[in-house]
Symmetry: C2
Subunit: 352 residues, 2 copies
């Protein structure tokens, strides 16, 4: 069973998940892992993925939830599938238990780890899918997040995508992953703290202010409209890094509240952005992550007011062009060999 | 020229160092980089590394500093060389300038980036060098750190080592790297904050308390004596991660203050630890990083007292067995597939 452990030296949580690997002494063998021809996410191989199938959108627009019968799953003309991760970092069946051990803290690994198969086609990438298919994927993500946030054991939902082997993708067939965590992860906590301090001081959203300053400057903007903005962050950690957020006019703290119009605009802006990146940087491996408000931040305050002005959901797109080495890991300070201004200029020029 | 930039959303500094790469649009080509047969760190190729050579230890035990004459360098029977990095992340010639730009902050990239060539032999690893050679390397590191800390532009010295291509090493020939930074990097700041809060509350060193708790528990100890302790951290981020620190009896905050006896003990414990790791995990790629007190922490307080009880220098050894993917980067929360208890057990059993 997985366990979350807290490091008192850095105030960071780690997931110890030994089920995801063979025993330590045998791990070296995984270095030799060969690319398998077989893809469990391709149509026809539905019996190779875990049941119950959490959610399925069918070609006729209908959907199914929690399907246990593998024959029904196999014979479905599906468009998008949501399945449990076969090697989950966290398991939903677990009772949540928080415990202190001297200077340490730990939590039994209650959580969820779901996979969103984006398409029936093995080789297709997000930016080459039909727009409507991306809209469907985002709608299913919204639906699953809205469902998981009802579970009182969880504090945060982490959505991410690994594209390409160097970005940590173990399967080629396009998929997003969603994890439900009983903690607010360190990176989100950092952002929340910075945003809260800024808001307490100025009564303005830090991210809205960043976006407004970027519009005035213009140098790092890839595209901007009344719904979304895409920019190469001033202090980009990764070569070619991008930040996608609702424009200040569309400020919102909680991704699952997104409406149909914004989902369509988001699908479109993500497709354009990934198309630019793929075109100008030769299909780089990349990670995408969503940052949105954790649940406890969405609870009403004593006076009935909700906390929402001070956080602003967004996606980080992190191409993995260089290696993460000792300087980066030892200092949590990245050396970026690309100028964000040049990245933005290059991507603006890409016809999409 | 490099630039340090501050991200207001995460309170993190990034080094933008475009000299370290070709132009963004040409970067894809670097993916094809072939392993070169030529090694600029091997004897005979001294003219392929930048001058001035910062420091050199010769076979007769003597040394030379700031040598400009390439013929002298080439004809030296050297044991250890310290040279400027050919592609420095930060340049010492730069005037330090701190500037705010709206919500952002930046610093011109004044710093230093030095390379320590550990041996004349191309293929030899730290743990197979003669003990005395490792002692010499550590003494030269101490010497360079003591010299660089006199430069009032700098706040922190970051020592690290990348071993193996997957750990970001661009050259095979064994070397450490030392950077001088005008900021305290985020990872060190986190540790300092946690240690300071703990000390303010309890008047005990957090790291001493961690080490003492680990001795009592025993499960995660690889080895321990009155000088040093090696353990698999409770909340290890990396599979096979290790923590090497002076034992509580030898508590100290500032690495360059290390004495001869402790240097010899450190050389020996690092060799044993890397030998264990290489043996049990099949020579994994790894990063090593040193965490020590930044300069401002070593200044005297108003009452003449120095701050030193609340920090404790140490090395992190991070094997790079798995990939860093979207979950890790998006959350700054790592999934570790090895149990630290099993790692410690396995490494304790390794005969070295």
């Amino acid at each position: 069973m997985s366990e979350l452990r807290h490091d008192p030296l850095t105030d960071r949580w780690v997931v110890i998940s030994t089920e995801r690997a063979s025993r330590p002494s045998e791990a070296a063998a995984t270095k030799e892992k060969k690319k398998s021809e077989f893809c469990p996410f391709c149509p026809g191989n539905e019996d190779k993925t875990p049941i119950p199938e959490i959610y399925m959108v069918l070609k006729d627009g209908s959907h199914r939830s929690n399907t246990m019968d593998i024959n029904i799953i196999k014979n479905s003309e599906w468009l998008v599938r949501v399945i449990p991760n076969k090697y989950p970092a966290l398991q939903p069946e677990t009772i949540l238990k928080r415990k202190g051990v001297g200077v340490y803290d730990k939590i039994s690994g209650a959580g969820a780890h779901e996979i969103f198969i984006e398409s029936r086609e093995h080789d297709i990438k997000i930016h080459t899918l039909p727009l409507q298919q991306v809209v469907t994927v985002l709608n299913v993500i919204k639906l699953r997040m809205s469902d998981l946030e009802k579970d009182p054991r969880f504090r945060y939902l982490s959505l991410f995508k690994n594209e390409g082997e160097d970005a940590g993708a173990s399967l080629e067939h396009g998929h997003f992953q969603l994890t439900a965590l009983p903690i607010t992860p360190s990176e989100v906590a950092r952002e929340l703290n910075c945003c809260r301090d800024y808001f307490n001081n100025k009564e303005r959203c830090l991210i809205c202010d960043i976006l407004s300053q970027e519009v005035e400057c213009g140098e790092r903007i890839v595209e901007a409209n009344e719904a979304f903005m895409v920019l190469a962050p001033f202090a980009s950690r990764f070569a070619g890094e991008l930040f996608v957020a609702p424009s200040p006019e569309a400020h919102h703290h909680n991704f699952p509240d997104i409406d149909d119009k914004m989902i369509e605009a988001l699908a479109s802006v993500i497709q354009r952005t990934l198309a630019r990146l793929s075109k100008k940087y030769d299909n780089p491996p990349y990670n995408i992550t969503l940052h949105t408000a954790p649940f406890f931040r969405r609870k009403k305050k004593g006076n009935g007011e909700t906390i929402q002005e001070d956080y602003h959901w967004h996606f980080h797109i992190m191409p993995r062009i260089g290696k993460i080495a000792g300087f980066e890991l030892g200092n949590d300070c990245f050396i970026n060999i690309f100028s964000p201004e040049e990245v933005a200029k290059l991507l603006r020029e890409a016809a999409v």
